[in-house]
């Protein structure tokens, strides 16, 4: 779904729509619209981000803080952090209609490679970002997929993101839902960041955008976005708690505002003629394909409703899993799929949470039956939502046909200590497919895929202390073909490996001047090269014309 393939060309995007759509001889207000647009004013106060990486393209994101209705910024992409080997520059327009966010998808990149990028306005230069393309489809390269969910700003610090940012090996970070929470500060999860935080409820476009601005101001989340490409799927709290239950249904304004703001603030392009579609697959070399599923938008209203994925998405997932020749098929799964009940029979008698797949047993059975009957091996569900760490076998007819690793919550409250202490053993006893259960800790998870096995590591930290170090909570190894959870238990190393630090300068202005100079040099150098090419071409044309005239004489 690459929209723009830009290599070594400076283009004003959307010019195609201007040229094709406007009658240029029209009088009136539109007359000046076709003129080429340059960079505008604005500051980069919200960090940078990248996402949707393929083996040859990445979507880049930025945002201008400006009061102007329209503006634009230049994106510079290079192979090196010094921006000396520029591969693309493009001027990207923006407006208040997208909250001044900037997006550009750059193609023609090399697989499995880091790229560096900055945005430049007429008055500012963004921080330097880093991204990574996916391995080629035939590549044997091991792949690391980080995933997390349920990051409630009120509940505590995003230490998990700081930890993940330091893992250079990460190929992509998957946000599996509840990237923001609609409540005002401290209403859910407590005042985990202390008093005085201004964080109103998100109910309309202005407040959803404000919510995202607040979350993205978090240094750890910003750093994660700065260093790694991401993919995101929403769950309910990006709009409102369990909003699909119809009790009550959100207004058109609230739902549309939540969806719009989410799209504006994340590095993804919309599918053609399917504006809010999120479900998609991302291929990572020979051994991993990531299927992202949207478990909110297509739900039928009700608690539960009659369908969770919707027929088109379910069919897409089934086809995709069956047709994938990746060693491991990773399913980005916002809501828990394994049964979770209060009886030995799990969901069939006493379901704890009908908002997850337990409320849609026929759909779950159809999917698992499809996996089993087609012999689709090594399907792994990477799950969020329930604020617990769990590792589950997905059983069908008594046999584990797939596995699920629930990566806890970044901060959202899990079970109180006492409940966990009393309840966890009972829950596991009653649900024997649950191989690991931890309702207390918070953090993130990473799935590492090689040609022989999948390894999943749960990481956690004390979210009440800012920048607290992380530790490995549990680790699992799943050899190819096993389709069952196998824990390689034990607490691992504390803290993460250091990542390349963002440019530090004694003063912001000195760093800004340096960035400005580098970006301007990179952009000028690229423009000079292209001007030189154009002049050479013009000289050759003149030479040919002169030669032709000489012959004619």
């Amino acid at each position: 779904m690459s929209r723009i393939s830009i290599t070594r060309r400076e283009l004003v995007v959307a010019g195609g729509s201007l040229a094709a759509g406007l009658a240029l001889t029209t009088p009136a207000h539109a007359r000046l619209l076709p003129t080429t647009r340059g960079v505008g004013r604005g500051q980069f106060l919200d960090g940078v981000a990248s996402g949707e990486p393929s083996s040859d393209a990445v979507t880049f994101w930025g945002r201008l803080t400006t009061s102007a209705p329209r503006s634009a910024a230049r994106l510079v992409v290079a192979e090196d952090a010094g921006l000396t080997r520029t591969v693309a520059t493009v001027v990207v327009p923006t407006s208040a209609g997208v909250d001044h966010t900037l997006k550009a998808r750059v193609g023609g990149l090399k697989p499995s490679q880091h790229y560096f990028y900055v945005w430049q306005s007429s008055t500012d230069v963004s921080p330097l970002g880093r991204t990574k393309t996916a391995p080629a489809a035939d590549s044997d390269t091991p792949v690391s997929v980080a995933y997390s969910s349920c990051q409630n700003y009120s509940a505590g610090y995003f230490n998990g993101h700081r930890d993940a940012a330091a893992f250079d090996e990460i190929d992509i970070c998957a946000f599996l839902g509840d990237y923001t929470y609609e409540y005002p500060y401290a209403e859910y999860g407590g005042a985990g960041r202390g008093p005085g935080v201004v964080d109103p409820a998100s109910t309309d476009l202005e407040t959803y955008r404000g919510k995202l601005r607040l979350y993205r101001a978090d240094a750890a989340l910003r750093e994660l976005h700065r260093l790694h490409p991401v993919v995101h799927v929403w769950d309910d709290h990006e709009i409102a708690d369990n909003y699909t239950d119809g009790a009550p249904s959100p207004s058109d304004l609230q739902r549309n505002a939540g969806y719009r703001a989410s799209f504006e603030w994340l590095p993804r392009l919309a599918f053609q003629n399917d504006r809010f579609r999120l479900y998609r697959s991302l291929r990572y070399g020979k051994h991993a394909e990531l299927f992202i599923t949207d478990q909110r938008q297509y739900r039928s209203t009700g608690d539960p409703g009659t369908t969770m994925l919707g027929r088109p998405q379910l069919d897409w997932l089934k086809r995709g899993l069956q047709g994938s020749n990746a060693t491991f098929k990773l399913v980005g799964n916002p809501d828990m799929i394994a049964p979770l009940g209060l009886s030995p029979l799990g969901a069939t008698l006493a379901t704890i949470n009908s908002d997850q797949w337990d409320g849609y047993p026929q759909e779950r059975a159809e999917l698992l039956r499809h996996i089993a009957d087609r012999g689709i091996s090594d399907v792994v569900f990477l799950t969020g939502d329930i604020h617990l760490y769990m590792a589950n076998d997905l059983l069908l007819d008594g046999r584990s046909v797939a596995t699920e690793y629930i990566g806890g919550s970044v901060t959202s409250p899990g079970l109180p200590d006492l409940v966990s202490a009393l309840g966890a053993p009972a829950i596991q006893a009653l649900n024997t497919h649950i191989r690991y259960f931890n309702g207390i800790d918070h953090g993130w998870a990473i799935a590492r895929v090689t040609k022989d096995e999948l390894k999943v590591e749960f990481r956690s930290s004390d979210i009440t202390k800012k920048d607290a170090p992380s530790r490995t909570l549990a680790a699992f190894t799943q050899p190819v073909g096993r389709n069952a959870v196998m824990q390689t238990a034990g607490v691992g190393t504390v803290g993460g490996r250091a990542a390349p630090a963002a440019a530090r300068a004694s003063t912001r202005s000195a760093a800004l001047r340096t960035r400005r100079r580098k970006v301007q040099t990179a952009a000028d150098r690229d423009l000079e090269r292209r001007i030189g090419l154009a002049e050479s071409a013009a000289r050759r044309r003149r030479g040919r014309r002169s030669a032709a005239k000489g012959k004619a004489v």
Binding site: L11, S17, L32, V39, T203, L205, R275
Partner: protein, 493 residues
């Protein structure tokens, strides 16, 4: 190399109907036979066939519906909203289509009620679901609490202005600073070929301090600004009134007007600078959507500069737009310079004119003219050399700017006596052996890096023809290199 736009989305073919016939609602218009024929054809095309959808109640400005409050389970909603359907919607005869003749083909109208305070009103419109198209959106500030004056929109937004269409998630947005007591009509539309899907429209309002209106709030009677530099325009308290025409290319939330008298045709540059200055738009006659000549809201310099070609003498209007009129002591500098060359120079003169105007208002403004230098002889040089003069002088166009600074380092002047197609190049006071005229020799350095001059050691001897060649040199990579064309002047002495 001019940047080439990408065609990243397939645009539907547009059916062009000349519905925006100027002349309605009391304004002087231009009606031609073609216009009349098109109007008749349009009316015939629009005749509602039997069985077609009934018009929606808010199909025209007179039926504009109010925006509605909404509720949420998790907190209050301050914005007002309405979901618009377009089944049966029709275009609005006599209403400008501010994004071109294909825009606003099916429209629905809303009204935003007045407020007793000055406010920043932000109206938004986006697809409810499915389609990745962007609706057209226009706002008409009324002169009072009621009214349906739709002769001139004050704000206009759509797919051309909302951002990069290929991202697929654009929404149209019009922010305006609206005077107290003024209601606003909002027009939302789809184009021919668009799927006219439902649109969620919303409006957010932010009260602003009540401040006295600055000079030039209305274009009628706006103060005259003298050509030159050093003008200061106050922006605090500015709003958008019902007479200010929308300029989608360079939109601003508020603005003030100045008039300037142009006595000679030619290329002029206008510049404005200051944190509060958001846009600068030039109008050739009484401001309207038809008369905008040029505008600026972007660029790599602190000043916003625009170049326009004055093809008639008389009064021109400038609008300095601002997006923060609530700030105290908001003001902008303004400079109007020119003419630069004749009006035929057109866009060729633009880069240099733009830089000059920017530097007039901000001496530290960086150079943006990347064109290779092209020197030119002063008009009198040939005549003076013919009469025995020794001075050779001229100017230059093109500064070969790199990193905001001109790299033009010097000009060199070579003189040759021409005989039989061969050139004897002058070195010092002597002419050398006949050689090729293609390769100048003995070039002297001229002084100056923009205007240049040199003096020949002696007058050119009589009875011969001469060739004077000037060329620029730029400093690149620490080295002097020839750049741009050689310019040659023939002199017969």
């Amino acid at each position: 190399m001019r940047a080439r736009p990408t065609a990243t989305t397939r645009r539907p073919s547009a059916t062009v109907l000349a519905l925006d016939l100027p002349g309605s609602a009391g304004r002087p218009g231009r009606r031609t036979l073609r216009g009349v024929v098109l109007a008749v054809a349009t009316l015939a095309a629009l005749a509602v066939p039997a069985g077609a959808s009934a018009a929606i109640p808010n199909d025209g400005p007179a039926g504009a519906l109010p925006l509605l409050p909404a509720t949420a389970e998790n907190g209050p909603i301050t914005e007002r909203q309405r979901t618009l359907a377009f089944d049966g919607a029709t275009p609005d005869a006599g209403t400008p289509r501010c994004l071109g003749p294909a825009s606003f083909e099916q429209t629905a109208w809303l009204r935003v009620e007045p407020d007793s305070r000055v406010r920043r009103l932000t109206v938004e419109a986006a697809v409810k679901d499915g389609s990745t198209s962007t609706p057209d959106l226009a706002a008409y500030v009324q002169n009072g609490a009621t009214g349906t004056d739709v002769r001139e929109p004050q704000g206009c937004s759509g797919r051309e202005t909302a951002g990069d269409a290929s991202r697929g998630d654009l929404g149209a947005s019009v922010p305006l600073v609206v005077p107290a007591g003024a209601s606003v009509l909002v027009q939302v539309g789809w184009r021919s070929g668009d799927a006219a899907v439902p649109v969620v429209a919303s409006a957010a309002s932010e009260a602003l301090p009540a401040l006295p209106a600055p000079a030039g709030q209305a274009f009628a009677g706006a103060p005259f600004a003298a050509r030159g530099t050093g003008l200061v325009v106050a922006l605090t308290g500015a709003t958008t009134t019902s007479l200010d025409p929308a300029q989608p290319r360079c939109a601003s939330q508020a603005g003030v007007w100045r008039r300037v008298r142009i006595a000679r045709k030619g290329v002029y540059a206008a510049a404005t600078a200051g944190d509060a200055a958001g846009t600068l738009t030039v109008y050739s006659t009484t401001p309207s959507g038809d008369t905008a000549k040029a505008c600026a809201d972007d660029g790599t310099t602190p000043a916003l500069t625009t170049v326009f070609r004055a093809t008639r003498t008389g009064t021109y209007w400038l609008r300095v737009g601002t997006d923060t009129p609530e700030k105290a002591a908001s003001q902008a500098g303004l400079a109007i310079l020119g003419p630069y060359g004749t009006s035929k120079a057109g866009t060729a003169a633009a880069p240099a004119a733009r830089d000059r105007a920017a530097r007039a208002i901000d001496p530290k403004a960086p150079c943006t003219d990347r064109r290779a230098p092209r020197p030119a002889f002063d008009a009198t040089v040939a005549r003076k050399l013919k009469r025995g003069g020794r001075a050779v002088r001229g100017g230059n166009d093109g500064a070969a700017c790199v990193n905001g600074r001109s790299t033009v380092s010097r000009f060199t002047v070579a003189v040759a006596r021409v005989r039989g197609g061969r050139c004897s190049w002058r070195t010092g006071r002597r002419f050398g052996a006949p050689r090729s005229c293609a390769v100048p020799r003995g070039a002297r350095r001229a002084s100056g890096t923009d205007r240049w001059r040199t003096t020949l050691p002696t007058a050119l001897p009589r009875g011969a023809r001469y060739r004077v060649v000037v060329r620029a040199q730029v400093r690149k990579g620490g080295k002097l290199r020839n750049s741009g064309p050689r310019v040659t002047l023939g002199v017969k002495r």
